[in-house]
Amino acid sequence: MQEFSQVQATRWSKTLHWLKRLGAGVGIAAMLAPVDALPAQPVQAAQPPQHWISYAQLASNQFAAWLSDPADDAVVRLHGWMQERLLKDGQPLPPPLVTRVWVAPSGQVERLEFASLGNAQADNDLRALLTSRPLSESPPPDMRQPMVLQLTLDFPQKQ
């Protein structure tokens, strides 16, 4: 499979926000940011085919759902790490995390690359969350991989 160029990768990227509902226990929700919220980048490559974009949206939203599952131990630990990092250690939220995702024809994420969050357990939890079950659809056979998804850790206002 052919890897995207940086420009293509940027156009192909989606942003996920992990949201924490303050006072709502272990809930971590996620959503796609609007495309125009992405940083401006030079546009040189052609727009990817719509069915690639559609599949990337599916993957992003499914990842978001997995990251929002309060019944998942990995989500609970990840949430705890985020909270502790912010409230106890006083560290700012991590910068947006670029993940590269390869999806097998079965829909299973077979390879996942991202820069370390700086905590081995958090890295392991994130990896486990995104690779432990298949996406609901097979990727388009003609889609270039990896997909590049940009994860943004965030704490929104209380809802």
């Binding site: 069915h51 559609s54 599916l58 499914q62 609901s136 097979s138 388009p140 056979p141």
Partner: protein, 252 residues
């Protein structure tokens, strides 16, 4: 010809509790709002219209219901009626669900002079369909010059409200009823001989065309997407996309 609504008897299996036909979804059976359940049998189907969680379904599937629920991936949430059409068998439910993807309606009209391969199936059957990712079609359209949408399809009860998906993953319409006494199986055999589809038990099925659905949605200010760009490739399964877009509807 007699028209048969494609509803299914309500059966809700939740934490070992079997509720009878049209029985309410009781908390005592472990099916609390938003809670995952062991097994849900929806009476009808629906399709997600937008990221807000609005679900398109058949009007007759929600008529007279004391309460409404939508099931997706073993998760049940309460739904409210957002809009009902007086002209077509169409209704929209509001839910708190966040779909992975929403329907994209085909912008262009269907060809009036030829059939096209499509996929339509009840959500409850899609849920258990073993070869979902390999199924390309299971029905064909019947050419119509008056803008109607009819299919030769083997859909079973529970398909009311399910999307009719074209090969490109665009929504062409929504299944509402089977027309009894329509084309004989002998007449359809020829059709199926030319199409690599499952011919078993296919009958004439009526669907509300995308044009009418979009008109209704616009009139009620309900967001939706339309396009002529393929949402899946030719090698991807419309059945898998139908499952992504679909949901079950339970009338309590």
């Amino acid at each position: 010809m007699k028209k048969i609504r494609l509803l299914q008897r309500a059966q809700v299996l939740a934490a070992g509790c079997l509720l009878g036909p049209l029985g309410p979804l009781g908390l005592s059976c472990g099916a609390a709002q938003g809670a995952p359940t062991e097994s849900i049998e929806a009476q009808a189907s629906g399709v997600f219209l937008n990221a807000d969680g609005d679900v398109l379904t058949a009007r007759h599937a929600v008529a007279g219901c004391r309460s409404l629920y939508v099931v997706k991936d073993s998760r049940v949430v309460m739904a409210t009626l957002r809009a009902v059409s007086n002209e077509d068998d169409v209704a929209v439910l509001a839910t708190a669900l966040k779909p992975f993807l929403s329907a994209v309606f085909q912008r262009a009209a269907l060809p009036a002079d030829r059939s096209v391969a499509v996929f339509a199936e009840a959500y409850s059957r899609l849920l258990r369909m073993p070869d979902r990712v390999r199924t390309l079609s299971n029905a064909i359209t019947v050419p119509e010059e008056d803008g109607e949408l009819q299919l030769l399809s083997g859909v079973k009860p529970g398909a009311s409200g399910s999307a009719v998906l074209g090969a490109s993953g665009l929504v062409l319409g929504m299944v509402v009823e089977r027309v009894a006494g329509a084309p004989s199986s002998a007449g359809m055999a020829q059709v199926h001989a030319r199409n690599p589809m499952k011919a078993g038990g296919a009958t004439l099925v009526r669907a509300v065309p995308a044009t009418d659905i979009k008109r209704f949605l616009r009139a009620n200010g309900i967001g939706f997407a339309e396009s002529d760009a393929a949402q899946i490739s030719a090698q991807q399964s419309p059945a898998a996309r139908a499952f992504t877009l679909g949901a079950g509807v339970i009338c309590g």
